[in-house]
Every structure is written in structure tokens, then in C-alpha cells.
């Protein structure tokens, strides 16, 4: 016995098995249905874009770590799949018409500038994927916001040519013309015939991913529901309490992807239950309000904006300790 060294540490000596790495792998798994549906709808170009953004995100992390002087085996050991999540999210939130270099730049910006420079996993102020997407959108607006391609199931199998359909997406229909979209809610839910970003068209796939995350205990499903419901209801309010707006508003644009996968990022959400409820409610209100005001899809901008309010929420909303009683005002005792 004496010849073997024992490990010594502070309690607790037993721990649950879940690690950050496992959580991130679960998130990647939850994104898979959306990826698959994106590829089915938009063809091999979608697969290519997803692969490019995923690989460039991972490569960015390795390059950064190499530059700051870490050894390759160290980096591989420390690698926790957060950049995979970021890369996949960026790939899912761009349209299939986007040129190949855009996801590379977006991923590199997201990983290096937004995440690594601030200290790596968990230290970022804002969500890397959202910021990467906004960065790309601001830099390549004309490339990303036009030339939307309508999905067709046949595109993968038949290798049919992609027909660029110019024109507004459903969302723009609602908010500029005030008219309800021509597509049915079922089309919006399944993403059939709907043009949009690779991962944002098929809502069913996103919901399946969200349910997976909730079942695995990674996210609290209530929060995205709050976000989506508040956004939908506020849109209804803004349009003269016409409930026909509810489903189209929650089923179009990037709301599902944003609410389930981007807004729920641990690092950029408040730490308390009450804080989270406030945060997701505000997200819903601001999203619906800005959508109405601008007529464009604003989910990623709103998440980016609200991320900056998280420290503020965390400062003011803190748990009261068990047995807490309000400190009584001192009466002459000093």
C-alpha cells in the first residue's frame, strides 16, 4: 500500500459523470435532424456548406491554440466540441446560396474573436454562433439576403439544378405587406416549398432536436417555449389580435433555431430560474417588436443584443439563501 501514491483532493470525492464535452456532443446530436433535413431539402451544396463551417470552426480553435503556444496533443485532450456546435449552428443559419468562403470567415470570427480571445469555452460574452452569423450577414448582406432557394426534396436524389428564386421570404410577406403568407402552416412546419436557411426551414427537425435536449436534461424546454410563445403572442397583439398571425410568426424565419439552440447557450443565459424567465420573455418581446418594425428576420440580432443584458440580469436577480430574512433596518444599533 505504502508504495503507491494516493490521490488527495477536497470533497466531494464522487461526482456525476456528465462533462462539458458530453453536453456539447449531445447538442451536436440534437442538431443532426436539422442538418439531415437541410441536406434533403437543399442538396449536396448544403452538406458542403455545413462541412465547411464545421471544419473551419474546429480548425480555428486549433490554430488559435497553436498560436498561443499549446501542444497539439494538449489541445486535442482539451477539445470539448463547443466549436463543433458553433460551426454547425453557423452552417445551419446561412442560406444555401451563400458562397463557400462566407461560413469559413463566419466560423473563424466566431471562434477566434468571440470565443478564444475572451478565454475560450464559457468565457465568451455573446454567443459565438449568433455573432458569427451576424458578422457574416453584415459583411455579405447582398450575398446572404437575396437569391433564396426554395427547397425541393428531389434536389439531393435527382441532382436537379438549384433554381434561385428571388423575392421575399415568408416573413417579409407578413411584415411588409401585412398579408398572411401563401404557404400553409403545414408547409411552414415541415419546410416544404419554403425558402430559407439550411437549418431553419424544417421546424419539425428542430423541435425533435429540442425535445432530445430536454429529455437529456441539457436544456429546460420551458425557456424556448417561453421565447417562442411570447414572440408569437406579441406579434398577434401588434397585428390587432388576429390569431391567424400566431402560427406563421412562430413557424417562419429563424425563431425555432434561435430559441432552441442559440438562445439557450449556457454561457449567455442568466444563472437563475427567474432570470431566465425574464431573459426569454424579453427575447420574445424584442424579437416580435423588431420584426414588426423592420420587416426583416432579426432573431440573431436580438439574441446578440440580449446577450449583452445577461450580466445585468445576473447582477440583480440572485437567489435568496435558504432561511434568508430581510436585514432589518438597524434601530440605533451601530
Amino acid at each position: 500500500m505504502a508504495d503507491k501514491l494516493l490521490k488527495f483532493s477536497h470533497s466531494p470525492h464522487v461526482r456525476a459523470v456528465r462533462t462539458t464535452k458530453q453536453i456539447m456532443i449531445h447538442v451536436c446530436i440534437a442538431l443532426l435532424p436539422a442538418c439531415v433535413m437541410g441536406i434533403v431539402y437543399f442538396g449536396l451544396k448544403a452538406l458542403l456548406l455545413l462541412a465547411i463551417s464545421l471544419l473551419s470552426a474546429v480548425a480555428s480553435e486549433f490554430v488559435y491554440e497553436l498560436i498561443v503556444g499549446k501542444k497539439i496533443c494538449q489541445i486535442a485532450k482539451k477539445f470539448d466540441f463547443t466549436s463543433c456546435v458553433t460551426g454547425l449552428l453557423i452552417g445551419l443559419s446561412i442560406g444555401v446560396q451563400t458562397p463557400w468562403y462566407v461560413p469559413i470567415l463566419a466560423s473563424a470570427f466566431a471562434i477566434i474573436v468571440v470565443k478564444m480571445i475572451f478565454g475560450g469555452t464559457g468565457k465568451n460574452l455573446v454567443n459565438p454562433a449568433v455573432t458569427g452569423r451576424v458578422f457574416a450577414f453584415m459583411s455579405f448582406t447582398s450575398l446572404m439576403a437575396s437569391g433564396w432557394v426554395a427547397p425541393s426534396i428531389g434536389s439531393l436524389i435527382g441532382g436537379a439544378s438549384l433554381n434561385p428564386t428571388t423575392g421575399a421570404t415568408t416573413l417579409t410577406d407578413i411584415f411588409t405587406g401585412g398579408a398572411l403568407p401563401s404557404l400553409s402552416n403545414w408547409d411552414l412546419l415541415l419546410g416544404t416549398g419554403l425558402s430559407g436557411c439550411i437549418g431553419e426551414t424544417c421546424k419539425v427537425a428542430l423541435i425533435v432536436g429540442g425535445i432530445y435536449l430536454a429529455v437529456m436534461g441539457i436544456i429546460n424546454i420551458i425557456y424556448p417555449i417561453i421565447y417562442i410563445a411570447v414572440a408569437g403572442l406579441f406579434t398577434v397583439c401588434l397585428n390587432g389580435f388576429d390569431f391567424n398571425y400566431f402560427l406563421p410568426s412562430i413557424l417562419s424565419g429563424g425563431l425555432m433555431l434561435g430559441a432552441i439552440f442559440m438562445a439557450t447557450d449556457y454561457t449567455t443565459t442568466p444563472n437563475t430560474t427567474l432570470g431566465n424567465v425574464i431573459y426569454f420573455t424579453l427575447l420574445g418581446l424584442v424579437t416580435a417588436g423588431l420584426r414588426q418594425a423592420t420587416g426583416i428576420e432579426v432573431v440573431s440580432f436580438v439574441i446578440l443584443l440580449m446577450n449583452l443584458f445577461v450580466p445585468l440580469i445576473d447582477k440583480f436577480i440572485i437567489n435568496k439563501p435558504f432561511g434568508y430574512n430581510k436585514p432589518k433596518k438597524a434601530k440605533g444599533v451601530q
Binding site: 490521490k7 483532493s9 469555452t121 437567489n319 439563501p321 435558504f322 432561511g323
Partner: protein
């Protein structure tokens, strides 16, 4: 007679039980070792002062260390033999303590107290003080002091939760020594002048619940299997519904919490005139050949216990004194049984956690689980940055160091260690008047 369910408490965690390793093995009396090393500070407060000299012949249950001051406790010899040394020993838990070393001479004699004169509270408390009884749940606070509160109490709560994984000693005692516990509880209640007695038992111990349901004057409260149910404040909340305010003690809400082993020691001191000289503990973990529950003489070296349990098997990477959630790690086997020991665990690599901490990902799991409703991530980061004033603002002093936060932390951060550091620094700052 009356069994009721405890009040639900929404915070806290579920830990892997691991009690099955020796839950059904009865308590075995381990033979007295050849040599015992009896520590003079087995309790909170001033260490006892040795009253024997090297070369003295001592008898079992003879006073060898006398209490020094208000918060202190007597220490008794646990075997018959000769004092061979009185020295400072650095034990495997890293603390330097004065030990009296006694070599066994094989005599089978014992010293007893005189029969107790009457059952007045004062007499009972005096006997408990004389017998060197301290809180045997782990804290080691002198029981006599705890039983003489400044305010009038109304409820005596017996802690039968034993929420720590692996440990079974309280459970075994509850089903094997039910009558002793009952009598001890009655004496404790007599000393406090209390009628209402509650025993809180976790739902995973149906045999213990059944054992106590036969008494009319003890209320059995079945607690949900949840960690940390055995924490004083949470036990009081779940059994009586009272919240102990922050920074206050159970007696502020009229409650007194006693441990199972403590009440048995009270019974022995009063009825059998025995001073405290042995303890019951669980030796468990996958690193030990036969996990078992043992009655052990205080001062027994850990090496003897390992030998008695069949030696170590597999690769033990951690030896822990106490439970895995709150117990202290040890750097070796140079450890001697103390009054407050509740177990020794020999954990193999797959049982324990050896991951390196990574960055906090701000997931909030620690705050969600904290039974004291603190925000461990903030306290940790303030503590690591040396900002102890802010750590205190976030309630560091309320932490009970149960380990619920670190248990579920996906980044494997040493939250409890940092908070514990902050607590010590804050205490230091207060002592030095800021």
C-alpha cells in the same frame, strides 16, 4: 406509532447510493488492537489535556484526557495497557494532533461510573459531559453544551437520514440497537425538558422505519431519498416545517438535532455507566475486500482495520475518512479512529472522480441544486480572485459544504474547495476586525 411523510424540499441532488456494498452486513465487533493512538482533540473546541504519563498502567474507559474549557470533551482509554508515548503525530488527514499511545496488555477490565443519582436534567447533562460525548455525526460538538441551550426548546429531532452514499453505520444501529436509541432519545429529551420527539429517516431504509414505528411517543418522519437530507437545517425543515434563519442555529427555532450514534452513547453513559470509548463505522468502497460495519475501539490504527477487512483489492486511488460527499481525503493510512469517524472508504478509479477542472460554462446547475440556494459559481470566482468581501456578499458563510454543486458540475470545478477557502478567509478577516 405515527408515521408521516416529510415536507418536500425542492433543492438538493440525487446521488448514487452505493449503500448496497454492506447495508445488510451486521455490525461486527473488531477485536482490540495491539496498540491504540488516542487523539486529544476529537471534538470541536479546546483539545483535552492528557492526565496520564508515559509508563502509567491504564484500564479501559479510564480518563486519559481531561477537558479544558467550556467547549471541550473528556477522552478515555479504549483498551487496558500501558501508556508508551504522548506525542504529536501528523496524521494522514494532514493535521498535527497530540496522541496518547497505549500498548495493549490483554487484560479484560473496565472502569465504570457510579450509578446515576437521579434523572434531573442537570445530572443527566453532567453525566453526558463526564462521559466525553460529542456530536458523533461528524461535527464533534460537545453534546453537553448542545443539551444546555439558552432558550427553551420544543422539539428534539433525531437524524436518521444518513444521506451520504456508502455509509451504513446509522442504518445498522437503527435496526440492531433500536431499543438503545429509544432510551437514549428519552434521556436527551429529559435533559432538554422536551416532549415532542421526531426521528427523520430516509425512505430507502424501510426496516429502520418499521423498527421505530412501534414507539408511541416518537414520531417517525419518512424523508425523501435526497441529498443532503441529513443536513441539520434541511432535516428541521422537512420534519417540522421550520426554517432556520441564515447564520442562526437550530435552537433559534426551538429545535435540537441529535445523531443516532450520539443518543446511543448517551444511553450507555446513563444506564450502563460507560464512558465513550468505541464507535461504529462503515468500511466500504470497491478497494476493500470485505466491506463491513464495525464496532471499533477509539484509537485503532487504520492499518489494523484494513487487515481485519481482508486487505485492499484492486487499485485504491483515494482513501476517505467519512462519506464521499463531505468526508476528508487522506494522504496515507496513518490514521487512527476518532469518536466522530463514520466510515473509511477505499475508492477505486472508477468510483471516484479524478477529472481536471475546465472552464465554468455558466450552466447554472450548481445554483439550481444548491440546497442553501446560493450561487456557487460567483462565490467560487470571487474566492479565486481573492475578493472575499464579495464572496461573503453572495452568502459564502451560509454554505454547508455538502458538495451538491460540485457533484453535478459538468466542468468538474472544485467549487466546495474554493468556497471553503473563502469561508476561512472571511472568518480570518472578521477575527482581525477587517
Amino acid at each position: 406509532m405515527s408515521i408521516r411523510k416529510g415536507k418536500p424540499y425542492p433543492y438538493g441532488i440525487h446521488v448514487k447510493d452505493m449503500k448496497e456494498l454492506c447495508a445488510e452486513s451486521p455490525i461486527i465487533k473488531m477485536p482490540a488492537p495491539k496498540k491504540v493512538y488516542i487523539s486529544m482533540s476529537q471534538h470541536i473546541g479546546a483539545p483535552a489535556i492528557p492526565v496520564v504519563n508515559v509508563g502509567d498502567k491504564v484500564t479501559k474507559r479510564q480518563l486519559i484526557g481531561k477537558e479544558s474549557g467550556m467547549i471541550s470533551a473528556n477522552v478515555f482509554s479504549s483498551i487496558c495497557g500501558t501508556v508508551t508515548a504522548i506525542e504529536d503525530i501528523v496524521t494522514a488527514s494532514g493535521l498535527k494532533m497530540k496522541h496518547v499511545v497505549i500498548e495493549n496488555d490483554g487484560r479484560d477490565e473496565e472502569i465504570f461510573f457510579d450509578n446515576i443519582a437521579d434523572f434531573e436534567p442537570k445530572t443527566i447533562i453532567e453525566r453526558i459531559r463526564l462521559a466525553g460525548i460529542v456530536g458523533l455525526g461528524g461535527a464533534g460538538f460537545p453534546t453537553a453544551v448542545k443539551l444546555s441551550p439558552s432558550t427553551k426548546l420544543d422539539t428534539l429531532v433525531i437524524n436518521g437520514a444518513e444521506c451520504e452514499p456508502y455509509l451504513n453505520c446509522d442504518y445498522r444501529l437503527m435496526i440492531e440497537n433500536t431499543e438503545d436509541i429509544y432510551r437514549g432519545v428519552k434521556y436527551a429529551a429529559m435533559a432538554l425538558g422536551i416532549k415532542k420527539i421526531i426521528i427523520g429517516i430516509e425512505a430507502n431504509k424501510p426496516k429502520a422505519i418499521e423498527a421505530f414505528s412501534k414507539y408511541d411517543d416518537i414520531e417517525v418522519v419518512v424523508l425523501k431519498k435526497q441529498y443532503p437530507m441529513g443536513s441539520e437545517k434541511h432535516l428541521i425543515y422537512c420534519t417540522t416545517g421550520k426554517k432556520v434563519p441564515c447564520g442562526k442555529m437550530p435552537f433559534d427555532v426551538g429545535c435540537c438535532v441529535q445523531n443516532i450514534k450520539t443518543v446511543i452513547a448517551i444511553k450507555h453513559a446513563i444506564e450502563d455507566n460507560k464512558a465513550l470509548s468505541s464507535t461504529v463505522l462503515t468500511v466500504s468502497g470497491k478497494g476493500i475486500k470485505t466491506p463491513m460495519n464495525l464496532r471499533i475501539q477509539i484509537g485503532t490504527p487504520l492499518e489494523d482495520i484494513i487487515e481485519f477487512c481482508g486487505g485492499l483489492v484492486g487499485e485504491t486511488v483515494k482513501i476517505i475518512s467519512g462519506g464521499p460527499m463531505m468526508g476528508k481525503g487522506m494522504i496515507g493510512t496513518k490514521s487512527f479512529t476518532r469518536k466522530t469517524n463514520s466510515g473509511y472508504l477505499f475508492l477505486t478509479k472508477e468510483e471516484t472522480s479524478l477529472e481536471e477542472p475546465t472552464n465554468c460554462i455558466n450552466c447554472g446547475v450548481c445554483a439550481k441544486n444548491c440546497p442553501m440556494r446560493l450561487m456557487p459559481m460567483y462565490i467560487e470566482s470571487y474566492a479565486l480572485n481573492g475578493d472575499y468581501a464579495n464572496a461573503e456578499k453572495y452568502g459564502a458563510m451560509n454554505c454547508i459544504e455538502c458538495g451538491s454543486c460540485a457533484y453535478n458540475c459538468p466542468a468538474k470545478r472544485s467549487l466546495v474547495q474554493s468556497i471553503s477557502l473563502a469561508k476561512n478567509k472571511i472568518k480570518e478577516m472578521k477575527k482581525n476586525g477587517r
